[in-house]
Amino acid sequence: MTVVTLTINDRLISAKKGSTILEAAEDADIFIPTLCRLKGLSPRGGCRLCLVEVEGSPRLTASCITQAQEGMVVRTETETLGRYRRMIIELLLTERNHVCAVCVMNGRCELQRMAARLGVDHVRYEYRYPDLAVDASHERHVRDPNRCILCARCVRVCDEVEGAHTLDMMGRGIHTNVITGMNIPWGKTRSCTSCGKCVQVCPTGAIFSKGTGVAEMEKRQDFLAWILSGRDDNIWNWGE
């Protein structure tokens, strides 16, 4: 295994060549906040929470999509980064209607947890209160765009892992939305296999199992690592 050595927050770290700064940091137990990244899905670089400072680079760097290089000097916790991350979370909260007290994910939500961890205790910006319809037409799952942070984890898992591509994004800017099928009710799509992968990877209460009540939804994201390692080890490849 080829190894690169880099400095993160004044600590010397060894990382597998080809791994991202984020992976290198995680292996060394250094926390970098993320929301759109999920191990096993293609990187997106969309939430911008994982930004870090790299010495010699004038711009902030998204650690989830940038490879660790030999000799890199990285800072993950600066005053500016902390401030920016809190602002990004605040913006996510104003975009949609996050009323945790009546949300199925209350207490287990990644957005909520991240907000608490980064110290977001109030929101300084105007709430938008968009008028978004809940889609409960699927027999097993519900999609509630009011809780969506547009991380596209559901879209990616449905396309890249399940291979169904039932989910996609429509519109742009603040009007971007996750859609099912060609923007038809989820229950009417014929490509959905009801596998539930999107339910498990969604970080918030935007996709959940029918019948769960306030604070009752539990998600198991480790299933993705399990399926993928199974595939990588060719368990289902009986030809050989």
Binding site: P43, R44, G45, G46, C47, R48, L49, L51, R59, L60, A62, I65, T80, R83, Y84, M87, I88, L91, L92, T94, E95, R124, Y125, E126, R128, I149, L150, M169, G171, R172, G173, I174, H175, T176
Partner: protein
């Protein structure tokens, strides 16, 4: 076709044109067409036939002449006389114009419509990219070839190695005209050195900046120049295929490009074995659906590949991994428009134009409150004052110049104190603005700067692709605060939040759209901060633009 046949084609056409005692060129680009140019051309053609003048007078289509807001524009080329340009031509003027230039009659009523060639609007310009624009018929290959079209391609295919071509472009000092001003020669060399079985050349003709139409005009007026530039680039970097990406709103540009590609392929100038050389180069057109972000290079390539037009993080850069993972050269349409001239006249000649670090010329779409507006091509380093007062003829109604906005939604404002700023990449950046793609909006004292910032923020908010959080949510909040300011409902705390948002969105956004969206705010704050404060503290708009109907109740 080989180079000798190309020369012969040029000569035949030159001789054909020389046969006419009088040639009448009617601009047939979008602005002139929309003010009725088609009728004028038809009227000239009819009158020529009706009066039996077909052997000595020709009425022909041409590209844009520049003063587009004064269309329809017509140039009269009378043998042995200086060219005459008429503005705002009406069908009634057709007969008198013929009488005057064919029969030598004096028609005083026409004088008012003549735009003299030596007025500063023309005299201060330097046409390199647009050299053929007002002259040639963009729909006839012969006309373009007669003006030197495809000579440069012939020369590089016969006389230069791909590396020579890259070096020549590098030595010319040409920088990308799409906005950022990256040295074009470096980009070509990178693609040339990249390894891959296949390589691509992409011309970016998306041009989403509000008010800008430089690229459209070039594609409509001289499509072969763009195609030739792409082919030279293809040879230089080792690509055999090019795409030209045109936005859906530019149907005429697409039509003329398509026609040009077909004609050039039939003539053996593009396609397989171009100009009887081993070089193959096919060009296809791709139409965008009209999203500003699709001008961003990674989003544009996604769009060409048939995917959702959203930016993807760089690196890898297109030069390493672009279309379908292959090394891809992407340049702006105007950048390609410079190439043939550099080859024809040499890198030294080109490097002699412009300033030390910004070589050549730049096309601007001059708009706003100047007396003359339209499309201009000027040497880099010309001062803003020369553009506004000489070429633009000063401010309408004798009012005061307040600021010029350059670079569109990614750019900023230059205030009156800096009128003597040379227009080059560095000087504009030092003022917190950018050259951008060439939008240039001149404002007088009736413009309200917070309102201008709000206009550009509304644009960015609508055009944000929504992929990343800071741009998607940040532009909305910045727009809200600006709206409150212009409605007299904001507080000083809002201004503080606004500035903080500007910094965050600039530093954290994924692509250039978000990274530059705060620029119009930052630059107006830099030079016109007092205007923001007066709006907030006194509910007063110094320019008299904003209305404060809600201000009283909110202020209590």
């Amino acid at each position: 076709m080989n180079r000798i046949e190309l020369k012969a084609m040029a000569q035949v056409e030159q001789e054909r044109q020389a046969k006419f005692r009088c040639r009448i060129l009617c601009c047939m680009s979008t602005p002139c067409i929309s003010s009725g140019a088609s009728k004028i051309l038809a009227a000239f053609a009819d009158a020529i036939t009706a009066e039996g003048l077909a052997a000595e007078v020709e009425a022909a289509t041409s590209g844009c002449m520049g003063p587009c807001s004064r269309g329809p524009m017509v140039t009269i080329k009378n043998r042995g006389e200086a060219d005459v340009i008429y503005e705002r031509v009406t069908p009634e003027m057709v007969a008198p114009i013929l009488n005057r230039h064919v029969r030598g009659q004096t028609v005083p009523s026409l004088d008012a419509r003549i735009l003299s060639h030596d007025i500063p609007f023309f005299a201060k310009q330097e046409k390199v990219v647009l050299a053929g624009s007002g002259d040639i018929d963009p729909e006839r290959l012969e006309s373009c070839v007669a003006a030197g079209g495809y000579e440069a391609l012939g020369q590089v295919l016969r006389e230069m190695t791909p590396s020579d071509v890259c070096v020549e472009i590098l030595r010319s000092g040409l920088r990308g005209r799409g906005g950022a001003g990256y040295p074009t020669g470096f980009k070509w060399q990178r693609v040339q050195k990249a390894t891959g079985d296949r390589k691509y050349v992409v011309a970016n003709g998306d041009e989403g900046d509000p008010g800008a139409y430089m690229d459209r005009t070039l594609m409509e007026s001289d499509p072969h120049r763009v195609l030739e530039g792409m082919a030279v680039a293809g040879y230089a970097v080792g690509a055999d295929r090019g795409y030209i990406y045109v936005r859906r709103e530019y149907p005429l540009a697409a039509k003329r490009l398509e026609k040009a590609i077909t004609q050039a392929e039939r003539a053996g100038l593009l396609g397989n074995r171009a100009l009887d050389s081993p070089f193959n180069f096919r060009i296809d057109i791709r139409m965008g659906a009209g999203a500003f972000v699709c001008g961003e290079e990674t989003a544009l390539m996604q769009s060409i590949m048939g995917r959702r037009g959203q930016p993807v993080p760089r690196p890898p850069y297109p030069a390493q991994q672009g279309l379908w993972g292959a090394p891809t050269l992407i340049n702006n349409v105007e950048t390609f428009g410079n190439v043939a001239m550099i080859i024809n006249r040499g890198a030294e000649w080109y490097a002699g134009l412009g300033t030390e670090k910004s070589k050549g010329t730049k096309i601007f779409a001059l708009a706003g409150k100047t007396v003359n507006t339209g499309l201009i091509e000027v040497p880099m380093g010309i001062t803003l004052r020369e553009i506004v007062y000489d070429i633009g003829g000063g401010i309408q109604d004798g009012r005061a110049f307040k600021a010029a906005q350059t670079g569109g939604p990614s750019g900023g404002c230059i205030p009156a104190d800096n009128l003597d700023t040379p227009m080059d990449y560095e000087a504009l950046a030092a003022l917190g603005s950018i050259m951008g793609s060439g939008g240039l909006i001149v404002m007088d004292d009736t413009s309200c700067m917070p309102d201008v910032a709000r206009f550009f923020m509304a644009f960015c908010m609508d055009e944000s692709c929504g992929k990343c959080g800071p741009c998607r949510g940040g532009t909305v909040q910045m727009h809200r605060i600006l709206t409150r300011i212009t409605e007299g409902a904001a507080t000083m705390k809002d201004l503080e939040n606004l500035e903080e948002l500007c910094g965050m969105v600039k530093d954290t956004s994924l692509c250039g759209l978000g990274q530059t969206a705060p620029n119009p705010i930052l630059s107006t704050l830099r030079f016109f901060r007092d205007e923001y404060e007066v709006h907030i503290r006194d509910h007063h708009c110094p320019a008299g633009v904003c209305r404060f109907d809600n201000a009283v109740s909110r202020a209590i």
